[in-house]
């Protein structure tokens, strides 16, 4: 079907601009960005100045398949993604069992096929069982479609194993995603060390644990020449090391979760376990530094780190509660907080949420140019609402934004020119 978006504000992250125009989508691609009138038989969507942007490409979505389908299935995650304007989910291998063999990868690929209305790609573990001892079959899994290799929040502590994984990955051009967190300093920690954690009596970790681990990985990247992405950089002290690595020509990029851009350690309040994340929420100074780093482009990618946890995993004393938060549906409204606060422009946001992640993984999407794949999100950046977590489409409702005032609603989501979400029927979706 041919679509005609009339009178729409177009976000182009490559040109770094927002302009008003009419957009034609035909045969799954963007056919024109400055059309005067709709082609014959086109479906005309009157946008009244609403915003059209490249759909979000989310690196690091956890789905509970295999192992925890009661927390999130491919179907429920897919519906949540579509409702959140996420057009490509890139899943994490921290499942049970881990996605560490071509057979498991094939299993999840088959399970996911046809279940999600949005694109889905999978990452594989870097070491077997994410145990940090033996390399996975990187070659076989690349052939089977793995887009990157990561042990998620497990750190490969043995530098010799890590060096060999990186060297081998380099020979195949595979992207390795690291989790910079020194395992010794961070052992047992559930908060960022400082006055707040101390008063709450919670074991804390110094922000230096992130810098140390990042420095270690940079040394190994310099040694091996591998392609590397840090899943989450959350501390100001890590930024000079990242800047230096990039200046030295290492093939390095970095991400940050939307929660670390919009929340800080004080949000833990009276032991609110929905705010328990990996790594823990940081100081306000760190949060501001991360937002500035996204604005400057030093941090390349914003991700959701969508981590579904059921009520039982969260209704526990803080130290015992499972970490992580769902975010597919709150990703865009939370990001728009930064836009409304004047901290980031829409092109800056979509550069980090759509363009950069797609390009880093070599995926289509993320672009607002003629001929580009029509993975798009149409949203009203100003529409205010109060989030009720029980309206979320995820099977798990562990969002830190429950009851929060947010601004910005997804109106429609398109994948290869096909509409996969319409807010008018949004509440009617059966809960899968």
């Amino acid at each position: 079907m041919t679509l005609f978006f009339q009178n729409v504000r177009i976000v182009d992250p490559e040109a770094e601009e927002v302009r008003t125009g009419n957009v034609i989508v035909d045969a799954g691609r963007i056919a024109a960005l400055d059309a005067a009138k709709p082609p014959r038989d086109a479906r005309v969507i009157e946008c009244a100045g609403r915003v059209l942007a490249p759909g979000i490409v989310d690196i690091g979505v956890q789905v509970g398949e295999p192992g925890a389908r009661h927390k999130e299935s491919f179907r429920s995650a897919g519906l949540a993604a579509a409702a959140g304007g996420v057009t490509t989910m890139v899943t994490r291998p921290d499942t049970d069992p881990a996605i560490d063999t071509p057979e498991v990868l094939e299993f999840v690929t088959r399970r996911a096929r046809g279940e999600t209305p949005v694109n889905i790609r999978h990452m594989a573990a870097l070491t077997r069982g994410r145990a940090g001892a033996e390399m996975v079959e990187i070659g076989f899994m690349l052939d089977a479609g793995a887009v990157a290799f990561t042990d998620a929040d497990h750190v490969v502590t043995d530098t010799r194993v890590m060096a060999r994984c990186l060297t081998y990955a380099r020979s195949l051009g595979a992207l390795v995603i690291g989790h910079p967190q020194d395992p010794g300093l961070s052992r047992g920690a559930v908060a960022t060390s400082g006055k707040f954690a101390s008063l709450r009596g919670l074991p804390g970790v110094s922000p230096m644990a992130e810098r140390m681990a990042f420095d270690r990985d940079m040394s190994l990247i310099e040694m091996t020449g591998a392609r590397y992405h840090a899943d989450q950089v959350t501390c100001a002290r890590t930024l000079p090391a990242l800047e230096r690595a990039k200046a030295n020509g290492l093939d390095v990029t970095a991400g940050v979760s939307i929660h670390h851009l919009t929340l800080n350690e004080f949000d833990l309040g009276e032991y609110r376990t929905f705010f328990k994340l990996t790594p823990p929420l940081r100081s306000e100074d760190d949060r501001v530094a991360m937002v500035e780093a996204v604005a400057s482009g030093l941090i390349d990618v914003i991700c959701s780190m969508h981590t579904p946890q059921d009520e039982e995993s969260k209704r526990l004393p803080f130290e015992e509660a499972a970490p992580g938060a769902v975010a597919l549906e709150t990703f865009l409204p939370a990001a728009l907080r930064l836009y409304h606060a004047g901290a980031l422009s829409l092109p800056q946001l979509f550069r980090a949420m759509s363009l950069n992640p797609a390009q880093r993984l070599g995926l289509p999407g993320g672009r607002m140019t003629e001929g580009a794949t029509a993975d798009l999100v149409l949203f009203d950046p100003d529409a205010p609402f109060v989030l009720d977590r029980f309206t979320l489409r995820s099977k798990s409702r562990n969002t830190p934004f429950d009851g929060a005032r947010l601004q910005g609603r997804v109106l429609a989501t398109f994948v290869a020119g096909e509409q996969v979400f319409d807010h008018r029927e949004g509440q009617d979706h059966a809960h899968a």
């Binding site: 052992r187 047992g188 060390s193 400082g194 006055k195 707040f196 954690a197 101390s198 008063l199 709450r200 009596g201 919670l202 074991p203 804390g204 110094s206 009276e270 032991y271 039982e312 209704r315 526990l316 004393p317 803080f318 130290e319 015992e320």
Partner: protein
């Protein structure tokens, strides 16, 4: 003067006037406890459950005695050996107990914040008897009463809290209480046993014991919490005792009439010299135990009164 709190979860939630109200009432109970008739009926008809998820002898005994002297029906549950081992969650345990309609729930738990979580799920008054490294409010209140009776005031005193600050809920509660009552607080101990961000706490920090004790009116020793340590905090107990153990020589740096306190149980020869601990001219350690019963009686009476008022208001619509 009034007492508004619904639960006693931490000193953080108490205002200075509430602290004074509670201590004044506790003073009356000290007098009663010293007399021949140690019984009152202010909690008559009420049920008090002591839930201790962490082993404790003295605190549990103190709460039990306090409840019995006020006429409550007291039940002790040693949770370390109960259904939690069978996989029941803390919240389920709380809901089960709540269904038995207790009026006062006294809880100790090894995790910070666990008592706050529990208080959200029950409709009786909850008293925190120590949660992880977070707070131990009745300990701070009994320390405050001991200080007030020994020094004649609870303000403008210099109090040195010494030892394992990082693992101590007693230190946190005392730090907050003494701050609210406008005292000078010093934290003294090896830097490995200081909590992070301690410089922002509004107190002075010393790693030299003698400097930290200089002119102090109150010397509060803490127990070295060996069970909470996972290695490499201090090189050895004998070096710790040499540098941070309280003995007569180090105490000589404090004010001549300084009192010595310890929340117990003591590690004699680790953080405190045994002879000094027993010196009735300096040590108020036994008084602390006595004040503990009185302070817990006062806390339970005030919470029970608020609970009764709340229930009466609810009954009248």
């Amino acid at each position: 003067m009034s007492f508004r709190a619904r639960h006693l979860l931490g000193i953080e939630h108490l205002a200075a006037d509430e602290i004074v109200t509670l201590l004044d009432l506790a003073d009356e109970y000290v007098a009663m406890n010293r007399g021949p008739d140690k019984h009152s009926n202010v909690l008559s008809g009420m049920t008090q459950i002591n839930m201790f998820f962490e082993a404790s002898t003295r605190t549990q005994a103190s709460f039990e005695l306090a409840g019995k002297r006020l006429g409550a029906d007291v039940m002790n549950m040693s949770m370390a050996s109960s259904s939690l081992k069978k996989g029941e969650t803390l919240i389920d345990t709380a809901l089960t107990l709540n269904a038995m309609r207790p009026d006062l729930l006294v809880v100790r738990h090894p995790n910070s914040g666990a008592v706050n979580l529990l208080a959200e799920k029950v409709n009786c008054a909850v008293l925190n008897a120590g949660d992880g490294r977070h707070e131990h409010p009745t300990q701070a209140l009994l320390d405050a009463l001991t200080i007030r009776r020994a020094k004649g005031r609870l303000h403008r005193l210099t109090v040195a809290i010494c030892g394992d600050i990082a693992h101590s809920r007693v230190a946190r509660s005392n730090l907050i209480l003494l701050g609210k009552m406008e005292n000078r607080v010093r934290l003294v101990g090896p830097p490995t046993l200081m909590p992070a961000g301690v410089a922002d706490f509004g107190c002075e920090v010393f790693d030299d014991m003698r400097a930290g004790l200089e002119g102090a009116d109150v010397v509060m020793m803490l127990r070295l919490q060996r069970e909470r340590m996972d290695g490499a905090f201090i090189p050895s107990e004998r070096e710790y005792y040499h540098r941070y153990g309280l003995d007569a020589e180090k105490l000589a740096h404090a004010a001549p009439d300084a009192i010595v306190m310890h929340p117990g149980p003591m590690n004699r020869g680790v953080e405190i010299d045994g002879t000094l601990a027993d010196d009735i001219n300096r040590s108020v350690i036994q008084e602390q135990v006595e004040m503990g019963v009185a302070v817990r009686m006062a806390a339970m009476e005030l919470l029970a009164a608020n609970l009764r008022r709340e229930r009466a208001e609810a009954a009248h619509g």
